[in-house]
Symmetry: C2
Subunit: 419 residues, 2 copies
């Protein structure tokens, strides 16, 4: 254990030193590193796909299947998407160095704030190779060093990807240690990483609720996280019903296994008799099972009963809880009680109802007349996202490169002293 700590300290020291060089590098140098990375991924494509094959074969041999295997597998198309994400991030505005709010105080001091990198970012994630390049690119864009700990199933792939990243860093004269991995995927090493508050400024877990709870429980380093997404759509009495059908089916069924899929539908009582029978047909066509409150089941007698737990549930599946509410206030109260502060959408043509919903619901993403599936860094215009936060400190909602920075105060004087 103490040997591990020594190694962690040595790794941390290398990261900290590298982070100082990265943050002093110009934006142009960091952009050049990202372009070098994109080129490196393309020229190493064959070798990367071959290495990924080793991870996939090993996973198959251990009996892995389904979505885990699916996420682990690299294809030429996926690699192309990863390259495009890196190129997109290279094209983003450089958040570092921006000065805001420079004002002159009565005593002549000029006071403002300058955006700076956080320092060293830790990422703990599952077997998704694209997170390796997304995270490295976002951290470099924002002037940070990064310590990556990916899932053990993707160990060979991640090692190969990080080699390409480090070669790109060296190509532009940046220290390769700025993107580092733990020496092993052993759990003991993750635990050591989570305690390294001396070296890491933040840890961001990316993955399922179990991973996030593990990180939160063991971390002494500050964590930015979200546990789950129990996303709601409220179909107001003034909703455009055709639009509502389209949005609801999309929010539930387009990709049910992700955190921004709708889990509970709230329907205004006045519109429910006209809306729910139509919706039930469309949902059935999309293979979605409904679980309804008592009032819903009066309109849709074949629907299963939703109990209290259903309204707290993140199904991540083709299941939808449905509740009829008396008005906007009841919808907001339901979201306050059962919600997870992730994403909620109101469908309504009534300006007053939209305004109240947008202002009063304080989830991380609040929408009107759009599918909850847009709650995603790329869709909201942040470029690739480094994660999503449903705690209100530091960042709230999808986080892009700018969320890996903070602002220091800068003060220019001419000899002012305090009396």
């Amino acid at each position: 254990m103490s040997e591990l700590l020594d190694e962690m300290n040595a790794l941390g020291e290398r990261l900290r030193r590298a982070s100082q060089k990265v943050r002093r590098a110009s934006g142009a140098t960091r952009t050049a590193a990202l372009h070098a990375l994109a080129r490196g991924l393309r020229s190493n494509a064959e070798a990367l796909l071959e290495t990924n094959g080793i991870d996939v074969d090993a996973a198959l041999a251990r009996g892995l299947q389904g979505s885990v295997l699916e996420r682990l597998r690299l294809t030429p198309e996926r690699l192309e998407e990863m390259i495009r994400a890196v190129t997109d991030i290279a094209a983003q505005d450089d958040p570092v160095g921006e000065v805001t709010g420079l004002k002159v105080r009565p005593n002549g001091l000029r006071v403002g704030q300058m955006r700076i990198p956080l320092g060293v970012v830790g990422i703990v994630y599952e077997a998704r190779p694209n997170v390796t390049t997304d995270a490295a690119a976002l951290c470099l864009r924002s002037g940070n060093a990064v310590l990556l700990r990916g899932g053990s199933e993707a160990a060979a792939t991640n090692t190969a990807l990080v080699e390409v990243v480090r070669a790109a860093l060296l190509e532009v004269g940046l220290p390769e240690d700025a993107v580092s991995t733990l020496p092993s995927t052993d759990r003991a090493w993750v635990l050591e990483m989570l305690k390294a508050e001396r070296w890491l400024d933040v840890v961001i877990p990316r993955g399922g609720e179990a991973l996030i709870r593990f990180v939160t429980e063991h971390a002494r380093v500050p964590v930015i996280k979200h546990y789950k997404g129990v996303c709601h759509i409220f179909v107001d009495r003034a909703a455009d019903l055709d639009m509502a059908i389209g949005v609801c089916v999309n929010a539930k069924a387009q990709r049910p296994g992700v955190c921004n899929a709708m889990e509970t539908l709230l329907v205004h009582a006045e519109i429910a008799p006209r809306f729910l029978p139509r919706l039930a047909l469309e949902m059935e066509a999309a293979s979605v099972s409904l679980r309804g409150c008592d009032r819903t089941r009066e309109l849709l007698p074949n629907v299963d009963e939703a109990n209290e737990e259903d309204f707290y549930a993140e199904y991540l599946d083709l299941i939808l809880a449905v509740r009829i509410v008396d008005d906007l206030d009841a919808a907001i109260a339901h979201i306050e009680t059962y919600g997870s502060d992730h994403t909620e959408s109101i469908l309504s043509q009534d300006h007053g109802a939209v305004t109240r919903f947008i202002e009063e619901v304080n989830s991380a993403v609040v929408m009107a007349n759009a599918s909850t599936r847009f709650a995603d860094g790329g869709q909201l215009g942040l470029g690739a996202e480094i994660g999503i936060s449903t705690t209100r400190l530091h960042a709230y909602g999808p986080m892009g490169a700018a969320d890996l920075t903070t602002r220091k105060f800068i003060v220019y004087g001419s000899g002012q002293v305090r009396s």
Copy 2:
């Protein structure tokens, strides 16, 4: 213990409900509450001073003295300062509701961010009655509810102050529970409060390093904090020496017991022979003892030796560590090794040196040609400060009302679905 937990949950629930009403109240209502508070403090001045006398007498009877007693004591002038702080906060821009960055995405979605309150803020502080009204006012300005836990020595004073605050809330139709205190100053209650992540969105400790470490160690609620201020001034070779004398004496001696006082002076080797002998005379006149590195002691043979610990020390006293460095790089390297990320200032007329220092030193407050004593929310234009952060998540440096908010994403669509 479980009874305590039940009581904490009941208190938390009341706070959460009150916070929902406060955040939905208009800015004008919250401003009116602050004006009502200012009036209430003035009309209850006599009773408040009398109640404070009870705390002071009890403290005297227990043998308290010095700065602790000094901070506990209310005087008509101090009460007037507290009222002025509340009035200043009432005059501040309302941070809540501000919408920024509203842009149209290629698919027609309009995406922006809206500033919202954190929710419920916890403040743990020592026996300083002004923190009670400052914290209540800043939390109301920013639309938050607040749970206050002040030092036991000020219990009677704080109870009386909170009664005035709650009367002001009722006067404008806001729930009085929005500003609450723990039912007792027992340590068991603080511990319960620090674990109440279900009810509190953040805890801010205000006080000495021991209090802050206690809070950090026991909190499951996110904490915003700073441990200490080891503030540096670097006198560059291109410094104006008259200005440098004035700024250094002010930064060290004007109020040595606070976190933004200078603790270590770094002097460029080229200017040290002309600067240090003059400085030594002025510091002696201000009763400041110097502790110098070997090169300093060659110039000032009577000065005590500074050892490694001196460069890490937050003296909070009329003591100053002095080190001669070869150049700007050495000064920055010293600050990176020994600093506490609080406040540093360069004294120089060389534009290039100033620019490099401001850009490369990533402490919370970085200054040029000004006393470190200006690192304070009031001085930097934030109005009264709720605390100071030397960790980079969420806020960095002095924090005002706007730092008690976060930003949610708002999205306006016209039926967009994701493909």
